[in-house]
């Protein structure tokens, strides 16, 4: 749109329309950001501040939430605390003010690492399997292709809870319950259907001529796939990876049911952070804040592709 034509253009919205649109977008952004902002703020409150009524918007920031998130503590008498040596680090100080001492690290870090392994592992598997399957569906004559594609999609049609119990029993039988491998396989199975469908759309858009040109130039089909198709499907792969990762990262229902100890992920763990006299909301806020970081970083890294990819190939090229 050239600047000169703006005034009379029928395509370019007027300045007023644009201002209203911008206002609405900002309003929407603010509304969706409020809960997040509240979580970030809560993480910096003290437990009494976090449950104060009326809610405190202005407060003295405290590291207590983060300290409580990473530690387990036990209550001690003042005499006992007085006999201890000088506090080591901020958290020690904060904890002692509450007449408690740190007895060890909490489970947050291992749970977080579980989440990382399971979410990234299953995303990698789902996208790798998906891109090969999508390529095959896109390029080859496959008997019952449409039925197979529908079948793959149909795995997402039922609510997860419908299969939760059978999977629980199956996993217990084969020894996959509460294992990272089990969770990776499960999330891969759920995500692979999404990956096949999304990626097939993207690969359909890549003209066959590219591979054919490469094959005439002496490459095998597999080489042509890696050198020519994959780079051009980067948009789709990025978008699919983000959707898969967000699902696997946030998944709660299966995680609650199938993991309890060693393989537990962060989502079922965070709500179980109990402080004295109820939920330890600052610790929950801190855990949630940190929990958001990997997805945000991953999305920002792939944002360039995602913005193009989210149109599902419609305006690629």
């Amino acid at each position: 749109m050239s600047g000169a034509s703006t005034a009379h253009s029928v395509v370019e919205p007027s300045a007023a329309t644009k201002r209203i649109a911008a206002f609405l977008v900002i309003l929407y952004a603010v509304i969706t950001m409020v809960p997040l902002a509240w979580i970030f703020a809560t993480a910096w409150k003290t437990p009494p501040d976090s449950i104060a009524y009326p809610p405190k918007v202005v407060f003295d920031p405290s590291l207590e939430g983060y300290c409580n998130l990473f530690t387990t503590r036990s209550r001690q008498t003042q005499d006992y605390i007085a006999e201890l040596g000088p506090p080591q680090g901020t958290c020690d100080t904060v904890t002692r003010q509450r007449e408690m001492v740190i007895v060890g690290p909490s489970n947050y870090v291992p749970r977080f690492i579980n989440s990382l392994i399971i979410a990234f592992g299953s995303t990698f598997l789902a996208v790798s399997l998906g891109v090969f399957a999508a390529y095959a569906f896109s390029r080859f004559k496959i008997p019952l292709k449409d039925d197979l594609l529908f079948f793959i999609l149909s795995t997402r049609m039922m609510p997860p809870i419908a299969v939760a119990i059978p999977i629980y029993l199956m996993y217990r039988e084969v020894g996959l319950s509460d294992s990272a491998l089990g969770m990776i396989l499960l999330y891969t199975a759920v995500n692979v259907s999404l990956a096949v469908w999304l990626l097939k759309g993207f690969i359909d858009e890549i003209p066959r001529e590219y591979e054919e040109a490469a094959m005439i130039d002496g490459y095998t089909r597999l080489q042509a796939f890696f050198k020519v198709v994959l780079p051009q499907a980067a948009t789709g792969i990025a978008a699919t990876s983000i959707f898969s990762l967000i699902f696997a990262w946030n998944e709660y229902a299966f995680a609650v049911l199938l993991t309890s100890g060693t393989a537990q992920t962060a989502p079922p763990f965070i709500p179980t952070i109990i402080g004295e006299g109820g939920m330890d909301w600052p610790a929950v806020g801190a855990g949630t804040t940190l929990f958001l970081i990997p997805v945000v970083v991953f999305t920002v890294l792939l944002r360039k592709h995602l913005l193009r990819g989210i149109t599902f190939g419609a305006v690629r090229k």
Binding site: P207, E209, Y210, E212, A213, A214, M215, I216, D217, G218, Y219, T220, Q223, V228, P231, Q232, A234
Partner: protein
């Protein structure tokens, strides 16, 4: 550099036969054009030569070797696609050198070959650009560069100028032919544009519904069309057809169209009574008030040195190409005289040309 030989090639997609009994030989260094309307099987034939599609039956020989069932990579051919298929994630230099990289050629040698191809095509200045910003003509040249850098046995091109606008297409036609004259590489070129075909080809195969209707040099295709389809497809405006019913013996040198007698090239075969069509190129018609075939002028189209005059006759509308100096007015009565040695006679049932002094035993395709 090599000869391409195609023997009784068939290709079916399910019930549909896209290519029927195709036979032709492209000699070493020849520029061969496959010409035909959309959907006639040109691309399918080319893809079979390239190894991108397996024939249903028939044989393909490249330089004497049977390659019918060899993979594309083993055939040593270069293919220029209609939409060029330049890899968008590589710059021009990488695009051109992509095939050499596969052969494991050292980078120095790749660079040398790419630079040489770029020099031939005059695209040295864009070698380090991304292909996405290039103009149509430059893309075209990069696509050609990708083909010539390999120094393959032959080039296959599928409507390589189809994506360019007409002005530029003309220019590229000349460049392509010039390139071919320098490289002397056997080339198969597919197009539906008769001007492209006529101006570039050493030999043309005119295809229609999967069948090669005529195979020969452009002059022959134009002057001695083997079928009504070819006569109609080539030439602008196309050949005129005068429809009549008659039987003619071998050796006959005139045809009777109603009460009009027209001299024709001596027939070399007997024609049993049937529906026939007399084919006349517009430029083989002259106005002559003494001529027995008469009509009235319907309109004229001025083209500079020549004009196309449309005349209504008892045998239908006829277009004549005459000098634009002789002015004609709509409604004017004119006589039409044909250059009798240039006339073609077609059997309307089969569409084939009747053998005559002009069409010497021309049972083509």
């Amino acid at each position: 550099m090599a000869e391409i030989r195609v023997e009784s090639l068939y290709k079916s997609f399910g019930d549909f036969t896209a290519v029927k009994d195709s036979n032709f030989v492209v000699e070493n260094g020849e520029f061969f054009v496959m010409l035909g309307p959309s959907g006639c099987g040109k691309t399918t034939t080319l893809r079979m030569i390239a190894g991108l599609e397996l024939p249903t039956s028939g044989r393909i020989l490249l330089g004497g070797n049977d390659v019918t069932f060899k993979r594309a990579a083993e055939r040593d051919i270069a293919f220029v696609f209609q939409l060029f298929a330049l890899y968008p994630h590589m710059n021009v230099r990488k695009n051109i050198g992509f095939s050499l990289k596969c052969q494991g050629m050292p980078q120095r040698e790749i660079n040398r070959r790419v630079d040489e191809a770029a020099r031939i095509l005059r695209i040295e200045h864009i070698l380090d650009k991304s292909v996405s910003g290039l103009s149509g003509g430059d893309r075209q040249r990069v696509a050609l560069g990708r083909a010539i850098v390999r120094q393959p046995m032959c080039f296959l091109m599928d409507e390589p100028l189809g994506a360019l606008d007409s002005e530029f297409r003309h220019l590229m036609c000349g460049e392509l032919r010039g390139l071919h004259d320098r490289l002397k590489a056997t080339t198969v070129y597919v197009t539906h544009d008769q001007v492209e075909a006529m101006s570039m080809a050493d030999k043309i195969a005119v295809m229609n519904r999967g069948v090669i209707e005529q195979f020969g040099p452009p002059q022959e295709i134009y002057a001695k069309p083997a079928s009504m389809f070819v006569a109609d497809f080539i030439g602008s405006p196309p050949m005129n057809f005068l429809h009549f019913h008659a039987g003619l013996p071998r050796g006959a040198a005139e045809a009777r169209l109603g009460d009009v007698v027209v001299q024709i090239p001596t027939l070399h075969e007997d024609v049993a009574p049937r529906d026939l069509a007399l084919g006349v190129r517009p430029e083989h018609i002259a106005f002559d008030d003494n001529a027995p075939l008469r009509g009235s002028v319907y309109g004229s189209e001025y083209l500079g040195t020549t004009q196309i005059v449309t005349v209504n006759t008892p045998f239908g509308q006829i277009k004549a190409r005459t000098k634009s100096t002789g002015e004609v007015k709509p409604g004017e009565k004119v006589g039409l005289r044909f250059a009798s040695s240039r006339l073609s006679l077609f059997d309307k049932v089969t569409g084939r040309a009747v053998r005559s002094a002009l069409h010497q035993g021309a049972a083509h395709g």
